[in-house]
Structure formats: C-alpha cells, structure tokens
C-alpha cells in the first residue's frame, strides 16, 4: 500500500478536471467519474485501487451487493491497459490489484477445481463486494457526520469561561523516621564536610566611612588619621593594615564629598584631618 500523501502527490497525466472536493465527494458520482474513459485521465484523483473499483462499481448502477465482480474486473483491467497505452505511470498497488483481478476473473470463468484450497472464487468475489460496500458506507457516514451541526460552526459553547478555581491546601507530612533519618544523614555527612576557608578579618570601607563621618563631624581640630582607628583593630598587624587602608579610603571619600579637609606636612608624614569649614565657620 502506498501512503495516501504520496498518492495525492502523484500527479499523473492529469487533464483539467476538477478534483474531488469534500462537497461532491459523497454525493452521487459525477458524470465524468462514472465514465470509464474519464477515469483514465483522472488517476490522481483516486485514493488507491479500491477507490477506482468503487467508482467503477457505482457505474453499474446496481446495489453494491449485487454488483457483477466479473464485469468490474474487466472494467478495471481495461482501465489499467488504457492507462498503459497512454503511458501513464500507474502506482504499483494499481498493478497489484490488476493482477489479482485478472486471477479472480480467470477463477470465476473456469469451472471450480475438484479439490479447492482456501476460499472459492465466489467467496473472494463476495469479499471484494463487501469491501466496496463497506468503503461506500464509511464515505456516506463520513458525509453525514460532517454535515451535522458542529461546535464552533453552528453550535456554540459559552464564550466567556468563568474561572473554576481549585484552591489547593497542601498538607505537609513527615514521619518521625523521616526526621531521624535526616538527622543521621547529616551527622554522617559531618565527616565529609567541604573545606571552609577562614575569612580574613577585613574592616569594610562602608564601616570606615560611617565611623569617620561620625567622628570627624565633632572634631574641629586637626587629628592624625591613625587615631580614628578603633583600638581593637590595632591588635594585630593584619587587622591594623586593613583598618588603616579602609580609613584612608574613607577619608578620601569624605574629602571628595566636601565633608572633611586633610593635610600632610611632609612626605610620608602623618596625615591629619578635620571637619570641613563651612562659610559660617570661616
């Protein structure tokens, strides 16, 4: 069997004929379709050999149950040979069907063999008729289905859905054994704790600015910068350096903001600072 997509894509020897549309699909076959001559030039409108057979069968204008399979086989074979004459390349499954129908035709014409294996020719013919009838029935059903009043087409649902809220209360659960297991897990993990780097004591710039601003604000006289450093930060050289550096930066920050004045008498001499003199003070 071929993919129906592929089949649809196989535009074989197609002359200008309107393709079957949904509208005319399920109505009585149109004149062109029932004319075997027209079939020859409209291969790509069909969905496989069964579709062709069904269209030919409709041409017999009898109940599909009383269809002459022999006649149908002959029509189909004529269709295939005509297509070949026109050098229309038929898909393989059309040819497989032709071969099968030729075989069926011969079985139908010949007297049945004395010992028959499997189904008789009549049974095969009946089955084919059944398949055609079933396909026809499904097409009619499909048409009836599509003709129904459809949601969003003839029938409408509420346009504004109101929110149906679901308020979910979460109940958290834990058992004593969960708790105990968790704790033992932690205690076990103690042995594999990651390495913690010890933090070097650092006097932050923010703290230094805050401290200097408070202290300078009240001192009118020049004072050495080092004297502003809190005594506990003078205990070790590391702490002293950190505190001095941040106080130095803080001092510059205050000067920049116009809150303090600084002076240094000689190179590397002590730096002194005091509150900035406002106009009023001057």
């Amino acid at each position: 069997m071929r993919d129906d997509k592929a089949l649809e894509g196989a535009k074989i020897g197609r002359l200008s004929e309107t393709p079957p549309t949904q509208d005319n699909l399920f109505t009585a076959p149109n004149a062109d379709r029932t004319n075997p001559e027209a079939l020859l030039i409209d291969v790509d409108g069909f969905e496989g050999p069964l579709d062709v057979l069904l269209t030919l069968a409709r041409g017999q204008k009898v109940d599909l149950r009383r269809i002459s399979i022999l006649q149908l086989a002959e029509q189909y074979l004529a269709f295939v040979s005509a297509a070949r004459k026109l050098r229309i390349e038929l898909a393989a499954d059309y040819l497989v069907m032709a071969a099968w129908l030729a075989y069926l035709k011969s079985r139908l014409l010949l007297p049945p063999p004395d010992t028959e294996d499997g189904p008789s020719a009549e049974e095969l013919a009946t089955n084919l008729a059944f398949q055609l009838e079933r396909l026809e029935a499904m097409r009619t059903a499909a048409a009836q289905l599509m003709a129904r009043d459809q949601l969003g087409r003839e029938i409408f649902a509420r346009g504004q859905e109101e929110t149906m809220t679901v308020k979910t209360d979460i109940e958290w659960t834990a058992s004593l054994s969960d708790l105990l297991n968790a704790y033992s897990r932690i205690k076990t993990r103690d042995y594999y704790q990651p390495l913690h780097m010890k933090r070097v004591p650092v006097y932050s710039l923010e703290d230094a600015v805050k401290r200097l601003r408070e202290m300078v604000g009240v001192s009118v006289n020049w004072q050495v910068l080092a004297s502003y450093i809190p005594s506990e930060w003078l205990s070790t050289p590391t702490k002293r350096k950190s505190a001095l550096a941040s106080h130095f930066s803080a001092m510059l920050e205050l000067v920049k903001q116009g809150d303090a004045e600084i002076r240094q008498d000689d190179t590397f001499g002590p730096i002194e600072l005091r509150a900035a003199r406002t106009e009023a003070h001057a």
Binding site: V96, I155, E161
Partner: protein, 219 residues
C-alpha cells in the same frame, strides 16, 4: 408556630441538601461557567453535601427546552450549547478551521464507527495506507485518542473517539452516530475476512477482539 418552623429550618440547613430549586440554580451556574462538559460527579463534588445534581438536571433541561441555549448531554457530561437553529447569528464567531482532507474525514469516520480500531484495520477499509499526518491531525484536534492495545499478536494500538469529538458533532455517545444501527444491522461494521490483493487471503484472527470492543461501545 413561626418559631418552631424556624427551628426546623435551621436543622434542615444543617443536615439536609438545599431545596431542589436551589440545586437547579447551582447546576445552572456550574454548567454556564464551564465551557467543557461537566459530569454529574463533577457537579456533585462542587455542590453541597446531599445535593442531587442528576435530578436538578432534569428540571434544568426542561426549563431550557426551546430556549436560545439548551442543556446538552455530551458523553458522560452535560453542557449548555446554543440552539442549532440560531447558527446564523453566530456566523461571525465561527472558528476558522482548515478544511479537513478527504483522507482525514474518512479516517475519522472509520475510527468513530469501528472503534476501537487499529491502523491496519483503517487501512484495510480504506484500501490505502494511512499517513501519519492524518492520524496526528485527528489526535491534535483531540477528536481521537489512543485506546487499549489489542490483545492480538503485535499488540497493536487502537484508536477511539473522544468527548471533544462527541461535543464537536453534537453526539451523546458513539451509539448516536448517524446510521450506526443500520450499518451494524447490514454487517458493515463487522470485521470480515480481508483480501490481500497480493493474491493471498488473510483470515483475520482479530475479529473477536474487534467485535468485543464494539459491543462494549454500542450495546
């Protein structure tokens, strides 16, 4: 006297379901609020203890008979839908839907009438193979979903229709598919011996499972 009555009322509201007229209002509000069909169970879950939405529904359906909107049964659920004769008013609201291909329409019909049905069975009925895109489209439209696997060699997947399918085509159940009874009576929904046109005849071992699945649905 009035005092006594008041007492009994208090007791009733404590232990009894609200009066049926009130229940009808509740069902009305619930069905209006939801665009999807709602089952009696779902209504019951939301309504006060002891309420009987099924009975309220009987009253509500009657109330809306012949109105601009009607109470419709869709699968196991219920929903308000506009009356079909007013379709002309709503033309502007129509959802633009890509026209379904002939293959898709036929495949849908075969799934609807033969469900649960395997891909091989669909192909046998149509006489051509079913492209993946066709089934995908139907799945995407939520008109078709996967059914149980068939208990036959290869355990093929089957397809069945959905509640959204019923809603789309205004059906209570797959039993209400147009002409389903006649088709069934004519044996056209039976899965009969298939002919493989390679010249062999396949005897379908699956008949049992197929018929069984159908019975479930249609009987």
């Amino acid at each position: 006297m009035p005092e006594e009555k008041d007492d009994s009322t208090v007791e009733e509201t404590l232990f009894d379901a609200p009066p049926i007229a009130e229940q009808e209002r509740m069902v009305e509000a619930l069905l209006f609020a939801s665009t999807e069909p709602m089952t009696v169970k779902e209504m019951s879950d939301r309504m006060p203890h002891g309420a009987d939405p099924a009975e309220a529904l009987v009253h509500l359906r009657k109330r809306y008979e012949g109105r601009g909107v009607n109470v419709r049964k869709i699968g196991q659920g219920w929903a308000f839908r506009t009356a079909a004769d007013l379709a002309f008013l709503m033309r502007r609201d129509q959802v633009e839907r890509r026209k379904l291909s002939r293959a898709a329409i036929e495949t849908l019909a075969i799934i609807a009438y033969h469900q649960p049905v395997s891909r091989a069975e669909i192909e046998e009925i149509r006489g051509v193979s079913v492209s993946k895109g066709t089934v995908d489209l139907l799945l995407e439209l939520d008109w078709v979903k996967l059914g149980r696997r068939r208990m036959t060699p290869g355990r093929p997947i089957t397809f069945v229709t959905t509640v959204a399918f019923l809603d789309q085509f205004g059906l209570d159940s797959p039993r209400d598919l147009p002409g389903v009874k006649e088709l069934r009576a004519a044996g056209l929904l039976d899965n009969r011996t298939a002919i493989d046109f390679d010249g062999k005849e396949t005897f379908d071992d699956e008949d049992d499972g197929f018929a069984e699945g159908q019975d479930e649905l249609f009987e």
